[in-house]
């Protein structure tokens, strides 16, 4: 009852601001969300500099920044630009893709648990990758391709199974959990079929790691993000309307099913590509949108804050794993798993205290 009493008096100061020009152009933005995004970008960049400076051979932050700006000495230039920078860029892109993909899925399914790693996209990608590792002994590129195709096939299967005159939140989550269970079974089967070397390689891949990532992983992911981002931004407003239910969105003139198909496809592509580049890094897609939302305290899908939060989370997790356990001793997926698990517990406890579950 006490909690209810405090809730009843809660009001919010209006935070939305609008910029208008004489030509009739107007843009609306949320001040708090803008501040959060700026802070996250700064945090991500700072963590990136720290991550580049970390390794068998530590480099001070000043030297890292100087080298990145093109004024470093040749020795540091090689270590930074050729060895460590691509890994950090992959971390940023993978984190951003997972954060954004998670926010899209959670918004479409209208469920904080409806993130792509829970719904089986991650496991589907893993199945594709394991198939390449175990059956075809494929190269790194072929494994990445397998992960991408696996994620896309899983996404398509999920959509078709959940489709009944349109896809609705609950059915999507339930079907997704079923698809996830199926993919886990396939992965278990593939592992039992593998010989020792392949199995070891598969298990490392399945943990999610950024070790040894170079520019080859950067370009495909960067291209995909560059293509998908404008598409997603263009559909962000209809997505916001979809959160009020299909009927209301329809009444407002939103092309409901088209918006959903476009955004789900984009989210599956982002998640599958991120998984192809770094393996199934757990919990980022689940936690980044929720953390971002708690910071912005703004309704709606919070796409850009979730994207920035994902990037920050992954770089910080990679930095932490290297700092605490030494270079490449602990795959980043383990750290995000631990952090994510703690977060989930905290979330459950606070929600329980607030009387919401």
């Amino acid at each position: 009852m006490k909690a209810l009493g405090t809730r009843a008096t809660r009001t919010s100061a209006p935070r939305a601001r609008a910029l208008r020009t004489h030509g009739g152009v107007s843009v609306r933005f949320d001040v708090r969300a803008a501040v959060v995004v700026a802070a996250l970008v700064v945090a991500a960049l700072a963590a990136s500099v720290a991550l580049i400076g970390t390794g068998d051979f530590d480099i001070p932050a000043v030297d890292v920044i100087r080298t990145l700006l093109g004024n470093g000495d040749p020795g540091q230039e090689f270590i930074i630009n050729d060895l460590r920078l691509p890994r950090v860029v992959v971390a940023l892109l993978v984190g951003a893709s997972l954060g954004l993909g998670g926010a899209l899925f959670q918004s479409i399914s209208r469920n904080p648990l409806g993130s792509p790693d829970v719904l089986g996209i991650g496991q589907g990608s893993t199945a594709g990758a394991l198939l390449m590792i175990v059956i075809f002994q494929g190269s790194a590129t072929e494994v990445a391709g397998g992960a991408l195709v696996g994620g896309l096939v899983t996404g398509a299967a999920m959509y078709l199974l959940a489709w009944k005159q349109g896809v609705h939140g609950y059915r999507l989550v339930l079907v997704g959990i079923g698809v996830n269970a199926f993919a886990v079974a396939v992965n278990g089967y593939l592992l039992t079929k593998a010989d020792l070397v392949d199995a070891a390689r598969a298990v490392v891949w399945m943990t999610g790691s950024l070790a040894g990532r170079d520019w080859e992983q950067v370009w495909p992911l960067l291209t995909l993000c560059a293509v998908l981002l404008p598409l997603i931004v263009a559909h962000a407003r209809p997505l916001r309307m979809l959160e009020m239910g299909d009927d209301t969105a329809y009444a407002l003139g939103v092309p409901v099913e088209r918006t959903r198909v476009v955004l789900m496809t984009a989210a599956v592509l982002l998640t599958a590509a991120a998984t192809a580049a770094a393996g199934p890094v757990s919990f980022v897609a689940l936690t980044a949108p929720q953390l971002a939302r708690r910071l912005t305290r703004s309704p709606g899908p919070n796409l850009v804050p979730a994207l920035c939060m994902g990037a920050t989370l992954l770089v910080v997790a990679d930095w932490a794993s290297q700092r605490v356990f030494g270079a490449d001793q602990l795959p980043v997926g383990v750290v995000t798993g631990v952090l994510g698990g703690v977060y989930l517990l905290w979330l459950l406890v606070t929600e329980r205290k607030a009387g919401r579950i």
Partner: protein
């Protein structure tokens, strides 16, 4: 010709046909209420009129053109709908929710004009939720929340507004409150309203045009004073009743007959 017409439509879900060759015209500037027993097809008809359900035969005409061939946003600027169930996103304020009604008038480069701001304010004022603007929707009472959703539909600024059972789940005070609000929108702002209602007496009191459905067919339509009779009620709902003058408004008042067993004792 009236602006909104269902012309010889066949409606249904999957293989189940709800209404066949149904034709209905919504008189311009009327407050039309659709009544009928459960599963008579009244909500289905409303969904078809609002473009949400595509007829398997026949067509729905908006301003003389097939509604399904018109661009979605264009329809949404002419015809608004308050669905039976809507979801208020977590942590949204009343002002933000009502502002979302402006969506069909906005675009990527026109996100929040001065007009938008003014119309949202006016919509909140005319529904009496202006002072709630900064409150969170999830902490409002059911009646307040329904007013907020109506305010959102008003902000859409459509000459035609469809309401699917707007009084369901509300107590009698808030039912009257919402219906009075609808009557104001009709009389003062000159909008054409179409509502599905369960309560026959509410329908008879507020409607200027009544459509009685049964099994997907129109039993009667016209002003309540002319069409609400004991025979119509028996035919539509299968109950015996007396129809008397409402002592407050003079509109027909349906009083169901008492059970015979109880009358006898």
């Amino acid at each position: 010709m009236n602006r909104l017409i269902a012309d010889d439509v066949t409606l249904g879900y999957d293989q189940r046909v709800i209404a066949e060759k149904l034709s209905v015209e919504i008189p311009d500037n009327s407050f039309t209420v659709i009544v009928g027993p459960n599963a008579c097809g009244k909500s289905t008809l409303l969904r078809a009129l609002s473009r949400m359900l595509k007829p398997s035969a026949g067509r729905v005409l908006l301003d003389g053109r097939t509604i399904h061939s018109l661009p979605a946003k264009k329809v949404a600027r002419t015809l608004g709908l308050l669905p039976q169930s809507s979801i208020a996103p977590d942590g949204i304020t009343v002002g933000d929710l009502v502002a979302r009604g402006r969506y069909p008038h906005q675009g990527l480069l026109r996100q929040w004009s001065g007009d938008d701001e003014r119309i949202v304010r006016e919509s909140m004022e005319s529904t009496g939720v202006a002072e709630l603007a900064d409150r969170y929707v999830d902490e409002l009472s059911g009646g307040q929340r329904q007013r907020v959703w109506i305010a959102m539909a008003l902000a859409q600024q459509t000459p035609l507004l469809l309401l699917d059972e707007p009084t369901t789940f509300l107590d009698i005070q808030h039912q009257i409150d919402v219906l009075d609000l609808c009557a104001d929108l009709h009389e003062e702002q000159g909008r054409t309203l179409v509502a599905v209602l369960h309560d026959l007496n509410h329908a008879a009191r507020y409607a200027t045009h009544l459509i009685a459905l049964r099994d997907g067919k129109v039993l009667a339509e016209g002003p309540p004073l002319e069409i609400v009779t004991a025979e119509l009620v028996r035919e539509a709902f299968g109950i015996d009743c007396r129809v008397i003058d409402d002592p407050e408004t003079g509109t027909p008042l349906v009083v169901p007959a008492a059970r015979k067993a109880r009358v006898a004792t």
